[in-house]
């Protein structure tokens, strides 16, 4: 079984607290992804679960029992390292067999298990090769092979795909997803890659400065980020933020005034006494419209990127603010230096108060097919 529980886990290096009280429940068989900016403590948290890093405070429980003081091997976990950490002097077979050799398993059983693993990972042809002779994707699979022969109940991955090129990464992503369904194991996966997080996770844990900013399914995070940090972090290109002023709040939503004076009522839960406050409006680049929408803004694109599928327009809404990005369709007739007409639909917008907390959006839950939320598993 692979049920995992973190209870108020803390970690300090010297006097610096790096993990500041993290609590999390992971069900057996779940695929949980940790994301967050560099240095937020993802690796540290993972290493604490693995037993590679001492736990300063709090408890880690696996299947209900405290494992704080157990060495890694006793926790029933396996870890795949970012650098793969393959043993360069052993061939693929011996690399995969290593954990079994440690257990002094007899040769026949070893062979059986290694062959089973190498079959799952399509490595049969490569067993005689040294890691140096393998491509990045193959190395990755060897590292996974070494992790699965021990048949652990929890897998830990630390940015396993970050060394691969885009094409291979896409391929491996698919293979990892398949593996997850095949193995019926719990997986905890650290990444800083949006796409990986969105495509593979059952649930995503967004970490910020050693604390959990939000936990939820990918689409929850995408559609209902609970604060400005998560909103900005999830989604690529990044969500645009515009400073607005609240003019009214009603059941229909909160009405705000854009920098150019346009007004718009965003369908979010109203709050009392917020009229006149400065709020932040969020809109994802892919929701920006060209020449249509509830509110319009004029802007002069400074750079235009044509990706074939899309056209990315970079502009500035207001002198004082950062870049505003719009993702338009491939053949959108935008041109650098020529003013264009940008539109926002109120229903696509997010709204955040001064402390960065999101207003609950009125997205009728039925609009997202609930079955979709686990479709990727």
């Amino acid at each position: 079984m692979g049920q995992l529980e973190l209870a108020g886990v803390r970690k300090s290096f010297g006097t610096v607290e790096v993990i500041k009280g993290v609590s999390l429940d992971v069900a057996h068989g779940e695929f949980v992804v940790f994301v967050g900016p560099s240095g937020c403590g993802k690796s540290t948290l993972l290493r604490m679960i693995a037993g590679l890093e001492e736990i300063t405070d709090g408890e880690v429980r696996i299947d209900g029992s405290r494992v704080n003081d157990l060495p890694p091997v006793k926790r029933g976990i396996s870890m795949v390292f970012q650098s793969y950490a393959l043993y360069p002097h052993m061939n693929v077979y011996e690399n995969i067999a290593f954990p079994l050799r440690v257990e002094k398993m007899d040769n026949k059983t070893v062979e059986e298990k290694v062959h089973r693993a190498s079959k799952i990972l399509h490595l049969d042809e490569r067993l005689k090769h040294k890691p140096g002779q393998l491509s990045g994707g193959q190395r990755q699979r060897v590292a996974i092979g070494r992790a699965i022969v021990r048949e652990p109940s929890v897998f830990l991955f630390d940015e396993p795909l970050s060394n691969l090129d885009a094409a291979l990464r896409a391929e491996m992503r698919v293979e990892l997803s398949k593996l997850h369904s095949a193995l019926d194991a719990t997986m905890i996966y650290v990444t800083h890659d949006q796409v990986e997080a969105m495509t593979m996770a059952d649930r995503i844990v967004v970490l910020d400065g050693g604390q959990i900013a939000q936990v939820g399914t990918p689409l929850e995070l995408y559609h209902k980020p609970s604060n400005i940090f998560v909103a900005g972090f999830i989604g690529n290109p990044k969500m645009n933020f515009i400073k607005v002023k609240c003019t009214a709040s009603s059941d229909a939503g909160v009405t705000v005034e854009l920098p150019n004076g346009a007004q718009m009522t965003v369908p979010v839960d109203a709050r009392a006494g917020i009229e006149g406050q400065a709020l932040t409006l969020g809109i994802r680049p892919e929701h920006v419209k060209f020449g249509e929408g509830d509110a319009r803004l004029q802007a002069v694109p400074s750079v235009i990127e044509r990706l074939g599928i899309h056209t990315v327009v970079y502009t500035q809404i207001d002198e004082s603010e950062g870049t505003f990005t719009a993702l338009l369709e491939g053949s959108a007739p935008a041109k650098a230096g020529q003013a264009i007409d940008i539109g926002l639909n109120a229903g696509d917008c997010h709204l955040f108060d001064e402390s960065g907390v999101a207003f609950e959006r009125h997205i009728p839950l039925t609009e997202i097919d609930p079955s979709l939320l686990t479709a990727a598993s």
């Binding site: 037993g51 590679l52 091997v73 043993y87 002097h89 440690v102």
Partner: protein, 280 residues
């Protein structure tokens, strides 16, 4: 392109190399010339490079005048090999400890080891003799091996430590996660991975041990059959006159084994040092 040289640069480089090599190799040429002359033709004046009476005789007669010569060479080789093996046994774990672990007194201990370099065997000879005597090691190979080992350990630790520090920590962590004990990890993972670095240390140790085995052998050993080459060569200094031609011949033949070892292994030295050197 960047490595394309103009003609005068070639001239400059080759002249430089020629001068450098002349300095380095001249003594060997001299030794060779000396070894080729019969004893009474050696002291010919004025100096001439090549003379008619040159022959390889000394290379044959030397085995007769110092009958144990082959034995001395073998001893030298064996002692150096044993020193290397023992030193590695001490160096590898120590270098690993210094490279990987945080422990109380680490820096002090490391400095202490490095300080051994500051002590030369020559000044410790009397107390050292007493140690050897108490351990009952006098007149054994071990009397030459043990002190040789002690004095190569510091440099070895220092070289290997900087190499080990470049091995990714994750390799050990992976082994740890896979349930391997620390000794198991050291033997099965670290040592094989660090082999290029160990190779450098081994070669350097071997050469040092081969080149510097005079004093200890002389003082701690009285059994002629156990003597290493440098002590053996002293037998060419007869009471009244030195058999220079045979001495040189024996010296040249004596360095041949190490030189051959070096020729075969030199690429590891440069490669392995590169890994270790740049770091510090």
């Amino acid at each position: 392109m960047i490595n394309k040289y103009r003609w005068w640069e070639y001239v400059l480089i080759y002249t430089g190399i020629a001068m450098f090599l002349t300095f380095v190799l001249a003594p060997f040429v001299e030794a060779f010339v000396v070894s080729m002359r019969p004893l009474d033709a050696l002291f010919s004046i004025p100096y001439r490079f090549i003379t008619d009476e040159m022959s390889f005789d000394a290379y044959f007669t030397m085995w007769k005048s110092v009958p144990l010569l082959w034995r001395y060479m073998l001893n030298s080789f064996g002692i150096a090999a044993a020193v290397t093996a023992l030193a590695l046994l001490a160096i590898i774990p120590a270098a690993y400890a210094f490279a990987r672990f945080e422990f109380k007194g680490r820096d002090t201990l490391l400095a202490a080891f490095l300080a051994v370099n500051m002590v030369s065997g020559a000044v410790l000879i009397i107390p050292l003799y007493k140690v050897m005597q108490q351990l009952g090691l006098l007149n054994t190979y071990f009397a030459m091996i043990a002190p040789g080992t002690a004095f190569v350990i510091p440099t070895g630790i220092w070289l290997l430590r900087s190499y080990l520090m470049r091995i990714p920590r994750e390799l050990e962590e992976a082994a740890l996660v896979d349930g391997a004990g620390r000794i198991y990890t050291l033997i099965r993972v670290i040592i094989p991975v660090a082999l290029p670095g160990i190779m450098v240390v081994a070669i350097a140790t071997f050469i040092t041990a081969y080149a510097q085995q005079f004093l200890f052998a002389l003082t701690f050993n009285s059994t002629n059959a156990l003597n290493p080459l440098p002590v053996g060569l002293f037998q060419f200094f007869g009471r009244q006159d030195v058999v220079w031609n045979e001495l040189m011949a024996a010296s040249l033949v004596g360095i041949l084994p190490v030189l051959i070892v070096y020729v075969f292994l030199q690429k590891y030295i440069v490669a392995g040092l590169t890994a270790g050197a740049v770091k510090e």
